[in-house]
Amino acid sequence: MSKSTVSKPSVAVHKFSSCDGCQLAFINMGEPLLALSQLVEIKYFAEAGPLDDKGHVDIAIIEGSVSTSKDEVRLQKIRNNCTHLMTIGACATSGGIQALRNMANTKEWIADIYANPSVIDNLDNSTPIKDHVKVDLELWGCPINKHQILTAIRALLFGVLPVEDSDKVCMECKRQQTVCVMVTKNEPCMGPVTRTGCGALCPHVGRDCFGCYGPAENPNTHALANRLQGLGLVKDEVARRFLFINSGAEPFHQEAQHWKK
């Protein structure tokens, strides 16, 4: 009998509307990237070079939100050609900072910036990938970091679903014994409702979390919003705390509706 050859799992990294910062989690990895490329075959990754988008891949990784009329067709093709689909970063999982336009009149904005608006292909809303196709795994964060991506790919290679860390930033602060910036400095910290994974970086440098990792599990947004008002934020400012990097995430979006003018 001939020996069967085991082919490496294949990965594709696709970009939609974004700043490319999450793909940097790969490119800034340094030498571990070389190790990763021994474990998987990267078929498509425009930012890093490979451009083979034909055929099936085991894991499709998506950065960015759906933003133009052509995006949906491209996305459907990616979904049809992959086994697992994983979104990385705020844009892909919640629509990102550019979802702020969903509450505005995008056409007016385009006309404000471009002399010839008719050539600009842009949908009214910036939406997350899961609004269009089935998503198997989400990595939250703006930006995600290399540890999230390596841990997720490693777990998938072992054939298990990666454990999702949906704890609150507060828990991470306690573990690190970081002094609470809300209690000691009255900072309008979003830590009580924000998903950990960043390493509680903002409180660690002495400032408020601004929710770039999106909502944690069971976030008590209303209690936090009341507390923010207690700290002296006016209603509109309370709403803007939730309407920032992850304004499209349901718990944040809902809470903001109570406080908007």
Binding site: A35, P50, I110, N122, C142, T151, V205
Partner: protein, 590 residues
């Protein structure tokens, strides 16, 4: 072939401040169509800012670009501080230069090694190049990592850093971290010199073109955050006068606006900066430049790669100067009152001048914002350069050669990262990840010639019941007198919470490391076991209760040769005081 038509379409130029493509048509040996198409959808940052408070601005503008967030944050903060009348102290001014050094260093190193150099050495990718130039590629990755770590010093992370704020920084870094970075910066200076000489020896195309260089200029220093905007055509204006001379306009084939100086294309970025600010460089850099084949000011766009390398050397000298005078301050941020007004900011991003204008109301809320990034300024110049350069190269060349040359010209401008880079073509066979070779023993390994100031004991754990053993072990060791004596000589002891691959960060600065972790599958006879990581070909996850096991992380780190000289994993099933201390001492002071 009198009527030959060549059509070149590069549909995905990977990114050019977003998504771009190249369309080129040559008919009868004439270029009849040449478009650098940018189709990245607009993201309306200027509009998002309207109505937001000033304290949201830096976190917002960082997200315009994942590669140069520091540039956006620095430009915005200077613009807004000018409205509020904030005068920053010398500490903040110096630290902002240092912060910027980090971004230039990482961005330039990335571009030289992963994007540009393979072109000139005729490789398809950096990986391919690494087979013949392994030390050069590794040197580049090292410089890039150092740049990222300089950004992390203030920003806590290198992409969308969180430490900068209007008025200064959230926190002053501690002296120990600064000193460690200073050592690395000093050590990297020789790397920069070697890099410059390596690039200068390359056979770069000689493509002289007429273009206007534009950059910031400061009387006493190489420009980062302050200065007048000057050109080699005699322009010399304050940053507030920018709009009088520079106009943004829409072209149909691009979602990024094109910017022109008095109606003409111009160049921003490292080559323009160096052409206009050569005399502002430190003496040692100028001396080195005198001996180079490439001389500046230069009108050869292909000298950009050398300009980048020279700036890398400059950032290291500048960073060394700032780090070596570093003192912790209790005024890392200035106090201020908000005011209504208009303010301008212009700083030198890695790719050239980045200009912002903000209008605020008296509460400090943004009423209007205008942002002009470097890539939109370079776009018309890239198209102009492509035309000239392809003609100089010879339109009779084959389609493949023309396409390659065109891409080479575009990459030269570093229009953000991946203009057709080609990084991950590796096809190495995965070798048995699940192979569970066991290298275990109850006898402690003996580290030799242990330098205690480079040694650490790390307890791994988590708050989950039964998994705190690694942490408890550290507590026990901390109280032990023999261990305390070693601590006095420099031994570090600390705890980590399920670090996963992050472990590499924690151990990278040590030569000798003992890791203590809880063991789920206990050895039948003993309550502890030593695992010799160095001898392991591969490990399975049977020992650790953590999601990404410590052993696997070490295996991972090992594959990329980042392991310390000595490393041992001590797995324990219960605390076992006597055995613990005895084992550790055996290992460290054999």
């Amino acid at each position: 072939m009198p009527n030959e038509t060549i059509k070149i379409k590069v549909p995905v130029l990977a990114r050019v401040e977003g998504e771009g493509a190249l369309d080129l048509t040559i008919e009868n040996k004439q270029i009849t169509d040449l478009k650098l198409r940018i189709y990245e959808p607009p993201r309306y940052f200027e509009k998002f800012l309207e109505g937001r408070n000033h304290y949201d601005v830096l976190d917002t503008v960082a997200r315009i670009c994942g590669i140069c967030p520091v540039a956006y944050q620095m430009t915005a903060t200077h613009a807004i501080e000018s409205i509020f009348g904030v005068t920053i102290n010398p500490w903040i001014r110096a630290m902002r230069r240092l912060f910027y050094c980090g971004e230039w260093l990482q961005s330039h190193s990335l571009h030289i090694h992963l994007l540009a150099a393979p072109d000139f050495l005729k490789f398809n990718s950096a990986i391919e190049m690494a087979t013949q130039y392994p030390d050069e590629v590794r040197r580049g990755l090292k410089l890039q990592a150092l740049g990222n770590d300089l950004v992390v010093l203030f920003g806590a992370r290198s992409v969308h850093p969180v430490g900068a704020k209007i008025g200064g920084f959230s926190k002053a870094p501690n002296k120990k971290t600064v000193d460690a970075l200073l050592q690395r910066v000093t050590g990297a200076k020789q790397d920069a010199i070697d890099l410059i000489q390596w690039l200068d020896a390359l056979d770069l195309p000689d493509d002289q073109q007429d273009f206007t260089s534009v950059a910031l200029h400061h009387d006493n220093e190489y420009p980062f955050n302050e200065g007048r905007i000057i050109s080699d055509d005699g322009l010399d204006i304050t940053i507030a006068e920018f709009e009088k001379h520079f106009k943004e306009m829409q072209v149909d084939h691009s979602t990024a606006l094109h910017c022109l100086l008095d109606g003409k294309p111009y160049l921003v970025g490292p080559l323009a900066r160096l052409n206009l600010n050569k005399d502002q460089l430190p003496k040692e850099v100028q001396q080195l430049m005198q001996g180079l084949k490439a001389q500046f000011p230069s009108k050869n766009m292909f000298h950009s790669i050398i300009a980048r390398a020279i700036e890398i050397y400059f950032t290291l000298i500048e960073a060394e100067k700032i780090l070596s005078h570093y003192e912790v301050t209790d005024q890392a941020c200035m106090r201020f009152e908000t005011k209504a007004g208009t303010g301008y900011g212009c700083t030198e991003a890695p790719r050239g001048i980045l200009w912002h204008r903000y209008d605020t109301d008296e509460k400090g809320c943004i009423t209007k914002a205008i942002i002009v990034p470097p890539t939109s300024q370079n776009q018309p110049r890239i198209e102009e350069d492509l035309k000239n350069s392809l003609i100089n190269f010879g339109l009779a060349n084959t389609k493949e050669d023309l396409q390659l040359h065109a891409e080479k010209v575009i990459r030269n401008y570093d229009p953000c990262i991946s203009c057709a880079t080609h990084f991950l073509d590796l096809t190495l066979v995965r070798d048995g990840i699940n192979e569970s070779t066991k290298h275990q023993s109850t006898a402690a390994p003996c580290f030799k010639h242990v330098n205690l100031s480079k040694a650490a004991i790390i307890g791994i754990g988590s708050p989950i019941k039964g998994d705190e053993l690694g942490w408890h072990a550290i507590d026990v060791l901390q109280k032990n007198k023999s261990i305390q004596k070693l601590k006095d000589k420099g031994l570090d002891l600390f705890k980590l919470d399920r670090p996963g691959i992050l472990l590499s960060e924690s151990i990278k600065d040590y030569d000798h490391v003992i890791i203590i972790d809880a063991m789920k599958t206990a050895d039948q006879e003993n309550n502890f076991v030593w695992l010799d990581i160095a001898k392991l070909k591969s490990v399975s996850n049977v020992y650790s209760s953590h999601q990404l096991g410590v052993a696997e992380s070490l295996q991972w780190i090992k594959t990329v040769t980042l392991l310390p000289k000595d490393i041992a994993l001590f797995a324990i099933a219960e605390i076992g005081h006597k055995n613990l201390v005895k084992n550790i001492l055996q290992c460290l002071i054999a």
